[in-house]
Amino acid sequence: MSASADSYYLPHGTPWSIFGSLGLFGFMLGAGLWIDGLNSVGPLVMGLGVLTLILTQFGWFGTVIRESESGVYNQQVDRTFRWAMVFFIFSEVMFFGAFFGTLFYARLFVVPWLGGASNMFFTHALLYPHYRALWPTNGPAHVGGTFSAMPPWGIPAINTLILLSSAVTVTLAHWALKAGHRRKVIAGLVATIALGVSFLLMQAHEYYHAYTHLNLTLHSGIYGATFFILTGFHGLHVTIGVIMLTVILIRVLRGHFTPEHHFAFEAASWYWHFVDIVWLGLFIFVYWL
């Protein structure tokens, strides 16, 4: 086994990825069966899949952490992780890009066209003569009934402040780590996680409010659809970020990481900044403009 620090560390086989595949397979097979109406088997298979996935993560990342702590990863391995994280985040950016693109396309083209803009005069005149192309909209058929849009200057503005301050706290934690002040690292991480969790609680409240008071639901036409898919997937990514930071916190408490060698920490903080920037996009384009 190549364990010296001057050669690139290569594992000799891995048991984890097949479980990862089985987990994904179970998850998706179960989810498919479930939404197809098999309400007993579906959730069971899906649950087993998710469980397998979680256990796989423990096993896989556990192995990597052990290897990292035992010092078999050299500089080159470190660069590999950095590049991989950069391109992983890039792929996530493109994933959100699909939904932002949808929002822009709907607002700049689809809705004006339904209102008769460009060469769509007859579409409007013959199909939807009463439709006025204004945003927010639930379309010519008023699907989902009358609703109100989510105002930006309530919870969303507070959430913006929360996420922006969490970017500061995670950076403070990083500086502390580089300076070797473990207590401050812990404080910074705990603050970041707390801010992340409060963001999620606020968002849960916002969704509740949308459904109960604003009649803003998934059924609320293109506004509701883009609103929930963008904020929903963002919330999911905040959740993932919180989990990452929690793992990092546990590792700090166990005495992992040195001022020079702590890429896992940086990866989690890169991810957190990415989630933060996506939120700024959301705040501007979904809530505000």
């Binding site: 050669s7 690139y8 290569l10 594992p11 000799h12 086989g13 891995t14 048991p15 984890w16 990825s17 097949i18 990862g20 595949s21 994904l24 397979f25 998706m28 097979l29 498919g32 939404i35 197809d36 896989w60 080159q76 660069r79 590999t80 590049w83 991989a84 391109f87 890039f90 792929s91 493109m94 994933f95 959100f96 890009g97 699909a98 939904f99 693109g101 949808t102 396309y105 709907a106 689809v110 066209w113 339904l114 060469n119 199909l127 639930n138 379309g139 010519p140 058929a141 699907v143 989902g144 639901t217 998934l218 059924h219 036409g221 293109i222 509701g224 659809a225 883009t226 929930f228 898919i229």
Partner: protein, 525 residues
């Protein structure tokens, strides 16, 4: 170039039997898995194509009903794109990238294993749909709404299968990028990298950029179908055209994902058998990069007839025609490489030459399709089917075959039978033209694509095409026979299999040992 090669001593897989293949983190094992998987999928998708051609042999409904016919067309497309062509290229990348850049393995070996092992599950999910009530997906590989969403039980499985394929491709793409950026032997600067490596670097970037967009798109279909959103319905302020935009924003780069690695292979094979260095190496790299860049701004050429504003039609027409420029550069450079070379025509070279000629035919029909007024006539006709099969079968698939014959001796340590290789080539190249060339005329005469039945005046050309199809399909059995006889025996191959071949992969013995370049080779200027 001077290299020193060090081979590792623990030159064996860690496990035996089936577990070896399930647990392996070795790039050669994983490359083999990808290639075998691709071969199997090539035959599964090919079997569907045989049924399609049998049905189209005569007008009227003979063997299958229209619904099942649509399922066959849909699955054929999805399987060939995601199951056959892409995994074949990833398999070649797995085998060859570390060997060509002097790396001990891929940068992230565990992830590499996972990227592969997601695929069999993805296609299980996809093929499972055939056994559900209502059968498999019917909306075509482009998954156009609303047809695609009106399926029965198969719909969520289709979406999830695509998610799985996407995860596999993104992870594989990340791995290839990182390997190329971070694992090159000292002295192998970016501009010194072999063209195959350059092609894959850019392809992998495209993969990471566009697969997530497809994932987002199919997720929106899932939401429309099950959770009451209105992304794709005008009643709720959405638009079915949104799907076309999302799909083709992914789809056009996707077709380049399926052709850039082919360009890379051809750029390796042609110089070897011309006994000359590649003509215009640097321009080849710039051409690749500009094709990749342009591929992001041409997607509207698939939507000329969808009712887009004229300004959009015009923009996409001109940007599309622009792509013909770097593509032309590549073709001229391959021809210039052969010009006054000492040409020899072993099987890989035969496939490469056929690629250059026939891919150009596909490029020409592409340029015809890129003209908006002409496309109004050709769109949704068999002309498009002819175009895509010239670029994908005589393009991508022929390049894969060239690559397989070229590197098979390196992988197995045996020479394949040149005689049978040539038999395979000549039967394939003749039958493939009998199969696809008449489709141009069918399309121009007005036969629509994706139909199980047609007007009688199209009968003769369809019969010719079907006969070509059956012969082409049968010829691929020769290919399989050649591969397996070469794995298990044949003349011993030398380290430098082809006398005109240069590059690090030819400095290691044939078959390449289980571990290569455990300490990096020196690449001199």
């Amino acid at each position: 170039m001077s290299q020193s090669i060090a081979l590792s001593h623990d030159a064996h897989p860690a496990s035996r039997g089936l577990m070896r293949w399930i647990k392996t983190t070795n790039h050669k094992d994983i490359g083999t898995l990808y290639l075998l998987f691709s071969l199997i999928m090539f035959f599964v998708g090919g079997a569907m194509a045989m049924v399609i051609r049998a049905e189209l042999y005569e007008p009227g409904l003979q063997f299958v009903n229209p619904g099942f016919y649509n399922q066959l067309v849909t699955l054929h497309g999805l399987i060939m794109v995601f199951g056959a062509v892409m995994p074949a290229f990833v398999g070649l990348a797995n085998w060859m990238v570390p060997l060509m850049i002097g790396a001990p393995d891929m940068a992230l070996p565990r992830l590499n294993n996972w990227s592969f092992w997601i695929l069999p599950f993805a296609f299980t999910l996809l093929l499972l749909t055939l056994f559900l009530p209502g059968g498999g997906p019917e909306g075509g590989w482009t998954l156009y709404v609303p047809y695609s969403m009106e399926l029965g039980y198969s719909f969520p499985f289709l979406i999830f299968a695509i998610h799985l394929m996407g995860i596999s491709s993104v992870l594989g793409g990340i791995n290839i990028i990182v390997t190329i950026l971070n694992m090159r032997a000292p002295g192998m600067t970016l501009m010194k990298m072999p063209l195959f490596i350059w092609a894959w670097l850019i392809t992998a970037y495209l993969l990471v950029a566009v697969m997530p967009v497809l994932a987002g798109g199919v997720t929106m279909q899932l939401f429309d179908h099950f959770f009451g959103t209105h992304f794709f319905s005008a009643a709720g302020g959405g638009s079915p055209l949104l799907w076309e935009n999302v799909f083709w924003f992914f789809g056009h780069p996707e077709v380049y994902i399926m052709i850039l690695p082919a360009f890379g292979i051809i750029s390796e094979v042609v110089p070897t058998f011309s006994h000359k260095p590649l003509f215009g190496r640097t321009t080849m790299i710039y051409a690749l990069a500009s094709i990749a860049f342009l591929s992001f701004i041409v997607w509207g050429h698939h939507m000329f007839t969808s009712g887009m504003p004229v300004s959009a039609d015009l923009f996409f027409m001109f940007s599309t025609m622009l792509i013909a420029v770097p593509t032309g550069v590549k073709i001229f450079n391959w021809v210039a490489t052969m010009w006054k070379g000492a040409l020899t025509f072993e099987t890989p070279m035969l496939f490469a030459v056929a690629f250059i000629i026939l891919f150009t035919v596909g490029g020409f029909s592409g340029v015809m399709l890129s003209l908006v007024p002409a496309d109004f006539q050709y769109h949704n006709s068999y002309f498009v089917v002819a175009h895509i099969h010239y670029v994908l079968v005589t393009g991508a698939v022929f390049a894969i075959m060239a690559g397989v014959y070229y590197w098979l001796p390196k992988w197995t340590g045996h020479m394949y039978s040149e005689f049978w290789g040539k038999v395979h080539f000549w039967i394939s190249v003749i039958s493939v033209n009998v199969l696809y060339f008449p489709m141009h005329f069918l399309g121009l005469a007005g036969m629509p694509r994706r139909v199980p039945d047609y007007a009688v005046q199209f009968t003769n050309l369809n019969m010719i095409s079907s006969i070509g199809g059956f012969v082409f399909g049968a010829a691929q059995l020769i290919f399989v026979a050649i591969i397996f006889t070469t794995i298990y025996g044949g003349k011993k191959a030398e380290a430098r299999v082809w006398e005109g071949a240069h590059g690090l992969e030819w400095t290691v013995p044939s078959p390449a040992p289980y571990h290569t370049f455990s300490s990096p080779p020196e690449v001199a200027g």
